[in-house]
């Protein structure tokens, strides 16, 4: 496909930060339209993954959007290419996995919320743990997945960084809405704690927790 070749070439030859952003946007825009799981799509996905390491936030945002649009097709390539040594790139990859919500990304999100040193990585993980798509899992897998998600969200609520706690609140709101009563009850308690001034120091987190609680009732 010539268009794809042109777009890949535009990314490779981009001379300025701005032209790299434009080229990445163009590639991201067509990526999800390529036949799912074709070699063309895989090539495009791998190029977007490489762009996460380009140290260009504009290009990374566009690349993440492209990966998210490819949905489950992007999951395995992202997992295969996780860069342990590039903090920024890993943050973007976790963000893409968090948005896609594929259960195969669960282990990465769990590890990120537990031990990643980067607040922005834990932030993405906390949001993602509340948005895992459970529909296609067997009842046993579903229960196990939900337990891991809830444990991760609980950790997120106790994080030292306000933005991670904020993301955990957003995750809990979605998770609690879509789960059975015992899980919903646990979410409610965690959200109530986050809405209290004696427990939560950041006003914006308390406000978001109050908003989530209003959505519950």
């Amino acid at each position: 496909m010539n268009l794809l070749k042109d777009l890949l070439l535009a990314v490779q030859t981009a001379a300025t930060a701005d032209s790299l952003v434009d080229a990445t946007r163009d590639l991201a825009a067509i990526c999800s339209d390529l036949p799912a799981n074709s070699s063309d799509q895989l090539t495009a996905i791998n190029c977007l993954i490489e762009l996460l390491s380009a140290n260009n936030p504009g290009a990374a945002v566009a690349a993440v959007d492209g990966l998210i649009a490819c949905k489950t097709a992007a999951v395995q390539p992202i997992l295969n290419n996780l860069d342990e040594h590039n903090y920024g790139a890993r943050a973007w990859a976790v963000r893409a996995l968090a948005q896609i919500g594929d259960p195969r990304g669960l282990a990465v999100l769990q590890r990120a919320i537990e031990q990643d040193i980067g607040p922005s990585v834990r932030r993405a993980a906390a949001m993602g743990l509340g948005h895992i798509k459970l529909a296609e899992l067997s009842p046993e897998e579903k229960l196990e997945t939900m337990e891991i998600c809830l444990a991760g969200l609980k950790l997120g609520c106790a994080d030292g960084e306000w933005i991670v706690r904020y993301a955990a609140v957003v995750g809990l709101e979605n998770f609690g809405r879509n789960s059975a009563s015992s899980f919903a009850q646990a979410c409610l308690l965690l959200l109530q704690a986050r809405s209290q001034e004696a427990i939560e120091e950041a006003p914006v987190v308390r406000l978001r927790a109050a908003q989530a609680l209003a959505a519950f009732s």
Partner: protein, 275 residues
């Protein structure tokens, strides 16, 4: 034998006070002054010692000036009310760096008595012209403007057109940081949307560094109308989230206490999308 102290080695409060008190090694005094401010030390000896370090002659040595700058910064961090007059005095010192540190700390103290001396310094002839090797302007304009803006929002200081007008010429300054500081201060002082425009324009600047600075400036102003533009700016989400948090928590124009109104819901929705 002297105890060998390595730079960057963890120290405690007692140690820091001793280092600030001794006179032999200025670099140790400098470090101690910084450390005590950084750690928000509450020890009763700290502020008197910092004030002593700040009190230097116009002809002081380079080393003594460095200690005084460090002390000036820490007095601001510690919100030392008794430092008001000495910091105003330090605005007159020939050393540019000391005047800059004093201006920033006066901003942190947030006392209206500092406004007049800060303005006087800013409006000196040649204040906004490059001097010497061109590294500095005649006065530390950026710090002076920021301090004036910060004091005005801290105390909800009422100003008039006569007060704002002299600041307007700094909008045309060739240095983007000075021009930004001017629009930020004017916005903080007046709440007039026209002063937000230069910062909003910078959100689309080709250089990431400029976009980042504009983000943080708009956030620091609590300028809520900028929220949508902030959320689409090409910069790291972490910075955009910090700026949006400021808009939620410290709006420039507040009507009553912060509650979950329609605008707050919109701001939170913008934040959610950036996670």
């Amino acid at each position: 034998m002297d105890k060998k102290i390595l730079p960057g080695e963890p120290i405690n409060e007692v140690e820091a006070l001793q280092r600030l008190q001794q006179q032999e090694d200025p670099s140790q005094r400098c470090y101690a002054a910084w450390w005590l401010g950084r750690m928000r030390s509450q020890h009763p000896d700290v502020i008197p010692l910092l004030l002593k370090a700040l009190e230097i002659k116009p002809t002081a040595t380079e080393a003594a000036i460095a200690v005084a700058r460090s002390a000036a910064r820490s007095l601001g961090k510690l919100h030392a009310k008794t430092a008001l007059a000495p910091l105003i005095q330090a605005l007159l010192h020939p050393d540019h760096g000391l005047r800059e540190a004093a201006a920033r700390s006066l901003g942190e103290l947030g006392d209206s008595k500092a406004i007049k001396p800060l303005m006087e310094r800013l409006l000196l002839p040649g204040a906004d012209e490059p001097v010497g090797n061109g590294l500095h302007l005649g006065e530390p304009c950026e710090a002076l403007l920021e301090a004036i803006g910060q004091i005005c929002i801290t105390i909800k200081f009422e100003t008039n057109q006569d007060f704002q007008q002299p600041l307007e010429r700094f909008l045309q300054n060739k240095r983007p940081v000075v021009a930004s500081a001017a629009s930020r201060a004017l916005l903080q002082i007046s709440g007039n949307p026209k002063w937000a425009e230069p910062m909003l324009a910078l959100l689309e600047h080709p250089q990431l560094q400029m976009r980042r600075a504009a983000l943080m400036d708009l956030g620091a102003c609590g300028w809520r109308p900028a929220a949508e533009a902030i959320s689409c700016c090409l910069a790291e989400n972490s910075l955009k989230l910090i700026a949006l948090r400021n808009l939620v928590e410290q709006p420039l124009i507040i009507s009553g206490s912060i509650s979950l109104g329609a605008r707050e819901q919109q701001l939170l929705a913008l934040m959610d999308k950036l996670l």
